[in-house]
């Protein structure tokens, strides 16, 4: 009995912990955005500073009528938000928050996270296709274009630390960054970090690369027909996925749980860095305009892919020259 409990309890806690955490990340984003726009942001619901706003939002969305368009492909339409959400949560299964604090300590942890992370495109396309709406369909087409184009450089950039450290295990990757985080690695570290941020913005469909959502052209893109709780699930999946990628960036480049103070502070350091990365992404989002679909593809194939390959090659050369490290 206790065995079963120990198998079920940690994922349960993690799942719910993430849910609450993500809900408050939305509040953080709204507050940061408001600050950038010289506004106050949520304030009324839960004083001070609207700390009950995420809960009010969730309640409101739950109480909304769930509308299924009559021409929609019902099974696909209904299944899509779940298909979209599950991979986002699966990413966290392999993410270590501290040396021994991970649900699964996989030897191919990075590979697992990357693989699961790119599954989101399936759910996204199902949303666009199942809605039977032209805006949604165009958006889904853009999404497939964009995500496939950016997964390649995304994986290549994520491989740079792997080559330098010589392991796919996320725990090893972080341990190798003691005391110098990878972002401080001369030249390659900084370039790879910048490339990682740019590419993850694109693969997360965030402004300036949010052509998938593009509400000024495609109204709301693939989720135009979704309402109520299904809409909430899609939003939740996007935020979960985004924070998952911020966690990955923290692990690969910012030294994960490493930081001054006792080892017990590890998870706090980890979350702090991930939130800082998240705020950076939010900052970029609220200061840029959107790039066009052909330009976004040209950027991926003509600039980022060669750059990522060059970085990977440079890392490999470094490993060969200094001898060891690489597998």
């Amino acid at each position: 009995m206790t065995d079963v409990l120990w198998t079920v309890l940690p994922p349960f806690l993690l799942l719910n912990g993430i849910l609450v955490f993500i809900a408050y990340l939305t509040l953080l984003e709204r507050k940061v955005a408001a600050r950038l726009q010289s506004r106050v942001g949520p304030y009324r619901v839960g004083r001070p500073h609207g700390w009950l706003q995420p809960i009010a939002d969730a309640l409101k969305l739950m109480l909304k009528e769930d509308i299924v368009p009559s021409a929609a492909d019902r099974p696909v339409y209904n299944l899509a938000p779940i298909v979209f959400l599950v991979p986002a949560f699966l990413m966290y299964a392999a993410i270590p928050f501290a040396p021994a604090l991970a649900l699964a300590d996989l030897r191919i942890g990075l590979l697992f996270v990357l693989a699961v992370s790119s599954l989101e495109v399936v759910g996204l396309f199902m949303c666009g296709w199942g809605s039977n709406n032209k805006y949604a369909l165009l958006s889904a087409m853009r999404a497939v274009n964009q995500i496939i184009s950016y997964e390649v450089p995304f994986i290549l950039v994520a491989l740079v630390p792997v080559v330098l450290v010589g392991s796919l295990r996320l725990q090893d990757l972080v341990a190798a960054q003691d005391p110098w985080w990878l972002v401080t690695y001369p030249v390659i570290g900084q370039l790879a970090f910048v490339a990682f941020v740019v590419v993850s913005l694109a693969s997360e469909n965030r402004i300036p690369f949010d052509i998938v959502e593009a509400e000024s052209e495609l109204v709301a893109g693939f989720r135009v027909e979704y309402s109520g709780m299904k809409f909430a699930l899609i939003q939740l999946a996007e935020f979960t996925h985004l924070f998952g990628v911020a966690c990955l960036g923290t692990l690969l480049f910012l030294g994960g749980w490493l930081g001054p103070g006792p080892a017990g502070l590890g998870p706090a350091w980890f979350l702090l860095k991930a939130i800082a990365l998240f705020v950076l992404i939010v900052w970029i989002r609220w200061s840029f305009v959107r790039i066009r679909v052909d330009q976004i593809l040209a950027l991926s194939w003509k600039v980022l892919l060669p750059a990522a390959l060059a970085l990977l090659l440079a890392a490999a050369v470094v490993v060969v020259v200094r001898g060891g490290g690489g597998a």
């Binding site: 955005a33 010289s38 032209k134 949010d210 959502e213 000024s216 109204v219 609220w286 330009q295």
Partner: protein, 387 residues
């Protein structure tokens, strides 16, 4: 042009066969009101466009025939509600021209003052909404939109102190203006325009140093000088295409000839050129505002008494055309009088209407995302298009 049943669409040469007909508007975040475009797409590329207008038609020209010369100026402001001051001005100028009514010098200067402040407010609204078209309501565009609204708000506060209204003013009357500047207003006005001027530098820094903004606007939606003249666009659109045409310079009215200002012209004709023209017009307008405040002549603000009865203005028989340079270009009114207290016929030339006609010519060949950027750069106000 190809006739497809009853529809007329502008076509662009293309070789594919997979087409998608997509409806944009009249309910669309970037419809700038109630514009409808039926786009035919090949992938993401627009191959044909059918613009449809008329969703905001309110029979303004008929209203003009049924309301007296005293009543209509306040209604005139509801055509181009983003630039109510110049819309009113057009009507009262037409009536004054027809009745050969003198306007005192002070009133002329006050008219220039509010027209230029209105231009600044209108361009601020354009910049904000245009950036929102390109940057999204959930992104950098919205940030700039809110910044622009913050500044526009300050100018609307000025108008509120002057007339008591924030959007539709009723400031002009035949023979002059209805209100004079309240105490301390000039000082407040100077502070506001100084602040707008410094904030403009911030916007330019935010936009022009941004590669993404540049690639989205440069070379997009090019209007050649020939096309501009053929279609009859005016205002920042024609000046963005390299033709220095500004009624304030070409045909000065309301004492514009007494002020020094430049007419900004850009030659490339793309969205970026139109953006640059408007950004410079902000500066020129502020320059004129300062000159007016510096040398405001004393004297009466109207050659006629205030409104006592609706039928107090009677114009002689005749017809006339009066035009002013609004923020969007030439706004004109053709007025026919049969000697009564109401016009026999009134015809509007809406700047937005003529400018919008160019959209069908330049959209094909562009991507869907460009469609909203181009429409935004044309800066249509649908109250004026549909009237």
């Amino acid at each position: 042009m190809a006739e497809t049943g009853t529809r007329t669409t502008l076509e662009y040469g293309y070789g594919g066969n997979e087409r998608l007909v997509m409806n944009m508007g009249p309910q669309h975040p970037s419809a700038h009101g109630v514009f409808r475009m039926i786009l035919t797409l090949e992938g993401e590329t627009i191959v044909a466009v059918e613009p449809i207008i008329g969703y905001l038609h309110r029979c303004h020209e008929k209203l003009g025939e049924s309301l007296t010369y005293v009543q209509y100026p306040t209604i005139a402001s509801k055509t181009d509600y983003v630039s109510a001051m110049t819309a009113e001005l057009t009507y009262v100028r037409a009536a004054e021209q027809l009745g050969q009514i003198e306007v005192p010098q002070r009133a002329q200067h006050l008219r220039v003052l509010v027209a230029e402040l209105q231009r600044v407010a209108s361009h601020l609204l354009w910049l904000g909404t245009w950036c929102m078209d390109m940057g999204g309501a959930m992104g950098g565009g919205a940030t700039l939109f809110l910044y622009c609204f913050r500044e526009r708000e300050a100018i609307l506060d000025l108008f509120e102190a002057l007339t008591g209204a924030r959007l539709l003013y009723g400031f002009h009357q035949i023979g002059g203006t209805r209100y004079d500047l309240p105490a301390g207003w000039a000082e407040r006005c100077r502070e506001t325009v100084a602040q707008v001027e410094t904030r403009l530098l911030e916007y330019e820094a935010m936009l022009e140093a941004n590669t993404i903004f540049l690639v989205r606007t440069q070379g997009v939606g090019v209007i050649s000088p020939e096309l501009a003249q053929e279609v009859g666009v005016a205002g920042p659109l024609i000046r963005g295409s390299g033709i220095a045409w500004d009624l304030r310079r070409a045909e000065p009215y309301s004492s514009y000839e007494e002020f020094t200002f430049d007419v900004p012209v850009e030659t490339t004709g793309d969205c970026y050129a139109r953006y640059r023209v408007r950004m410079q017009e902000f500066r020129e307008s502020i320059r004129i505002v300062r000159q007016v405040l510096d040398g405001l002549p004393a004297g009466p603000i109207s050659s006629r008494p205030g409104v006592k009865s609706v039928g107090q203005v009677k114009l002689p028989k005749g017809e006339t055309y009066a035009r002013v340079e609004g923020p969007r270009g030439e706004v004109g009114i053709y007025l026919v009088s049969d000697g009564a207290t109401k016009p026999y016929r009134m015809k509007w030339r809406g700047a937005s209407f003529s400018n919008l006609a160019v959209v069908g010519h330049i959209l094909p060949g562009h991507k869907v995302a460009d469609a909203v950027a181009i429409l935004g750069s044309v800066d249509p106000v649908f109250g004026e298009v549909d009237r």
